[in-house]
């Protein structure tokens, strides 16, 4: 079964006919040729497909495209503007927070989402006080980034990269 939907992807509006089984991830990768989000597991277990969906980090492999008519999707590629990298991307470069690069766009979208969540005061499992404003400590960042697997295991560099992008001295 097919359905017609509208999406804005990295700022570009799209009108598309989609198989109702198609995930947002496969739509981006196989229909729109936007391979910035990666497929690592297709089951929401690795985080490589993370994008910003209406500004929040989301696993695009678990999102059916048809269920997101009208949504605004931002991939890691869309975070960079006018040839300038997003501060999170720059921090990942500065800290060598990756090796093979396959999980990296997902890590970066996740980190951008994380910084917004912390700004809004959302607590995590690592927050000692659920009512206080969370701080970008290493423990907070590590906890909040744990949905994004990195098999090259750049974790010890990802944490300071996210802290740097969040304006905190690692």
């Amino acid at each position: 079964m097919d359905a017609e939907i509208s999406l804005t992807v990295d700022g570009v509006p799209r009108r598309l006919t989609v198989d109702t089984r198609t995930t947002l991830l496969d739509l981006l990768r196989e229909r729109l040729g936007n391979t910035s989000p990666k497929k690592g597991c297709d089951h929401g277990q690795c985080g490589a497909c993370t994008v910003l969906l209406d500004g929040e980090r989301a696993l695009s492999c678990l999102a059916l495209a048809v269920a997101h008519d009208g949504a605004e999707v931002t991939t890691a590629d869309g975070l960079a503007t006018e040839g300038e990298l997003h501060p999170v991307q720059q921090a990942f470069l500065d800290r060598d927070a990756f090796q093979c690069g396959y999980c990296t766009p997902g890590q970066i979208c996740s980190a951008v989402g994380l910084l917004r969540e912390v700004d809004r005061g959302w607590p995590s499992h690592a927050s000692a006080d659920l009512t206080a404003d969370p701080q970008l400590t290493a423990a907070e960042v590590a906890e909040r980034m744990s949905g994004n697997l990195c098999r090259c295991a750049a974790y010890a560099h990802i944490v300071p990269a996210v802290q740097q992008a969040g304006g905190v001295q690692p």
Partner: protein, 697 residues
């Protein structure tokens, strides 16, 4: 002795050249190659562990609108070579392990391909299977060699006599789990077969070496190398599992040849990777060590039992590090394999050294305890002057310095006493040694060309995230004596000069050697002021290979472990490694390799375990929700340091290779720390809560 390059660009922590493309996600991996109008392939797998296909009904799949073809052993082309039975896809009805490929569906979209695969009805005649490794398996046999060409067994002196008379002995059995490489990028390809074209087959594949990949495809399909082009600019991790092609590569080529002119995309699902993409055999290691009163080893022996598949032998060389790590007058190593109805085991980061530095390095800790000696000191006292196996001098060996510097940085001298309790947590520290042989492959070529004021270096090398895109220009710049910005390096394509596999931590050593030869020949031929278009191809100089020395990288790892007194939860707040691995070409990318290897070692220690269900013959936890790898919150303070090691014997760069040493010894350091914290000695990996909970003080 090699004429070492003068380091100018070498040693600089340059940012990855492919970094911007990777942080944006615009670097294209194999499946992502932009092609017109691709078809999508989805495999069909065997649902029995042993037997044969009796009937395949493809009618429902073929009737599905959008399905282009269904291939099975009944209609697939006959391959030129079926000698490698792992790669002989869709050639017979025989099933040798659960999950083996029995078909593939090609369709207009990936959704339709998957639906079509679900619609293929396969009937099997099931035979009794045997898929469980045991230490006394009745079919255990002695392989002719262990990987790649080491003696299966070695013996010197009389271990039994030494064990009977020594002051202190340890005799224990250790085991490591079955583990799967699980690179984040699945095994994936895009293949295009154009029968009339000069190069009929183009294969964009996720591989650790385009040239070896091409050679394997040519062998199986009976093609000449000129007929095949393999392209792979980026690899989303391999860790050995993309070092030699697996069945998925042959399947996508088979599919493309069934659909001439149409590019075919195939990516294994994460679940399929647990059947088809290789793994490390579980190992059982019976250790014997004996020492005199001063801690000098009198005997060291390891008897290894592991598994292989019935259709293809893979003999992990687990006993090899015991042959050279420490001296003892009485020594023995053996390997025995059980041939089972299981998927084909294969390369996994530091094959041999990774599992083989677990049993021995824990046994040494137990010996130190029996002697009442500090485990750092025990290792220092047994540091051999020459290679105990060959009698050759070391090209360089700075294990003792690594141990001493690591102990200093870690604060080993002030470590808490055994079973120290800090609130709800028991705290302990552990140490182990690391080792990895320094290898250089026999052949690789590099081309150097002067082009519009810049130097272009071409070599079909692979960057798995290791940094080849960045470090090869550094080597070329120093070999040509020019600024690194004046060098462009092109890799990852069989149109470029042939290059060896990125495996055995040999990539930089081998490709850098070829580049250095080419650069020196270029300067010799064209001088300092070449003309546009001047070019030279150089090859790894085998004649210059040093055979007089035993060449290894060494290291020492220190772990702090906390074990929760009530729950048995295990944390590793600190993991420090100090390595002596020759000259470090790029400290920025090198640090990532070291900490990545160490963290994967931590993952092996605490998390990774492909739980085998012998009743049905498959991994029960075959996805990333159930197969646990270390995640961000599992990692604390991970630090890698290295000595400024000068080795004039290994190669012109003075480099030893750093992709694998970081994972060796780590698990032993963690286990030794768990023992110090709790008094519990866990001898079978991984260390899970259930193994400590019952024994906590």
């Amino acid at each position: 002795m090699t004429d070492l390059l003068q380091p100018r660009a070498i040693g600089q922590g340059l940012v990855r050249r492919d970094g911007e493309a990777k942080v944006r996600g615009t670097a294209t991996y194999a499946y992502e190659t932009p092609v017109d109008h691709p078809a999508y392939a989805h495999p069909v797998q065997a649902a029995i562990a042993r037997g044969r296909v009796t009937r395949i009904d493809t009618s429902a799949a073929e009737a599905l609108d959008g399905v282009l073809a269904v291939l099975t052993h009944e209609n697939a082309e006959r391959l030129a070579s079926t000698e490698d039975r792992e790669l002989a896809v869709l050639q017979s009805p025989e099933v040798a392990f659960r999950g083996q490929l029995v078909g593939v569906v090609l369709a207009e979209t990936s959704e339709l391909a998957r639906q079509g695969a679900d619609l293929v009805r396969v009937s099997f005649a099931e035979e009794e299977h045997d898929s469980e490794l045991t230490v006394d398996h009745p079919a255990l046999y002695k392989p002719d060699k262990v990987n790649p060409s080491f003696e299966t067994d070695t013996a010197e002196g009389d271990v039994a006599a030494a064990m009977a008379t020594a002051h202190a002995t340890v005799e224990q059995t250790y085991s490591t789990a079955m583990v799967h490489n699980n690179p984040l990028e699945p095994h994936a390809s895009t293949a295009l077969w154009e029968p009339g074209a000069q190069v009929p087959l183009t294969l964009w594949d996720s591989t650790q070496g385009v040239h070896p990949d091409r050679a394997a495809v040519c062998e199986v399909f009976g093609l000449d190398e000129e007929q095949v082009r393999v392209i792979c600019p980026y690899v989303g991790g391999g860790f050995g599992s993309k070092g030699t092609p697996h069945a998925n590569v042959m399947l996508v080529v088979l599919a493309a040849r069934a659909l001439p002119g149409r590019p075919v995309k195939l990516a294994l699902t994460r679940q399929q990777m647990f059947f088809l993409a290789g793994y490390r055999t579980p190992t059982i290691q019976r250790m014997q060590v004996a020492a005199d009163r001063t801690g000098r080893l009198q005997a060291i022996a390891i008897d290894v039992v592991e598994q292989t598949s019935r259709i293809k032998e893979f003999a992990e060389q687990t006993g090899t590090p015991t042959r050279m790590m420490y001296a003892a007058p009485n020594r023995r190593t053996t390997h025995r394999l059980a041939p089972l109805d299981v998927p084909v085991p294969s390369w996994f980061r530091a094959p041999g050294e990774c599992p083989g530095m677990f049993g021995p390095e824990v046994a040494l800790d137990e010996l130190a305890e029996a002697l009442g000696l500090d485990p750092v000191e025990l290792r220092i006292r047994n540091d051999p002057e020459v290679d105990p196996e060959t009698g050759k001098p070391w090209s360089s060996r700075h294990l003792v310095e690594c141990l001493r510097e690591g102990a200093e940085r870690f604060g080993w001298a002030d470590r808490p006493p055994a079973r120290h309790r800090d609130g709800d947590w028991f705290v302990g520290t552990g140490v182990a040694s690391s080792v990895y042989p320094t290898m250089r492959q026999a052949t690789s070529d590099a081309l150097v060309r002067f082009e519009e004021g810049r130097y272009v270096v071409e070599i079909g090398a692979a960057d798995l995230g290791t940094g080849a895109w960045t470090v090869l220009p550094q080597i070329a710049a120093d070999a040509l004596d020019v600024p690194v910005d004046d060098v462009e390096v092109r890799i990852g394509d069989t149109r470029l000069p042939q290059a060896s596999v990125a495996g055995g931590s040999s990539g930089t050593n081998t490709w850098g050697s070829a580049i250095t030869v080419a650069a020196r020949e270029f300067r010799g031929k064209f001088g300092a002021e070449p003309r546009d278009g001047d070019e030279v191809t150089g090859s790894v100089d085998q004649a210059a290979k040093d055979t007089e020395h035993a060449a290894y990288a060494f290291g020492a790892q220190f772990a702090e472990v906390r074990v929760h007194a009530d729950t048995g939860e295990l944390r590793v707040p600190r993991l420090y490694g100090v390595f002596a691995a020759g000259r470090i070409i790029n400290p920025r990318t090198a640090r990532s390799q070291f900490i990545g290897g160490m963290t994967m070692g931590l993952s092996m220690a605490l998390h990774e375990n492909s739980v085998w269900d012998p009743r049905i013959g498959q991994v029960a936890n075959h996805d990333l929700a159930e197969y646990h790898i270390t995640v961000n919150a599992d990692v604390g303070d991970v630090q890698a340091y290295w000595l400024d090691e000068h080795d004039p014997y290994v190669n012109a760069m003075g480099s030893k290779g750093i992709g694998e040493i970081g994972i060796t010894g780590t698990a032993a350091a963690v286990v030794n720390a768990v023992h110090r914290a709790t008094g519990i000695r866990v001898r079978d990996l991984p260390v899970t809560l259930d193994k400590v909970l019952g024994g906590l003080p």
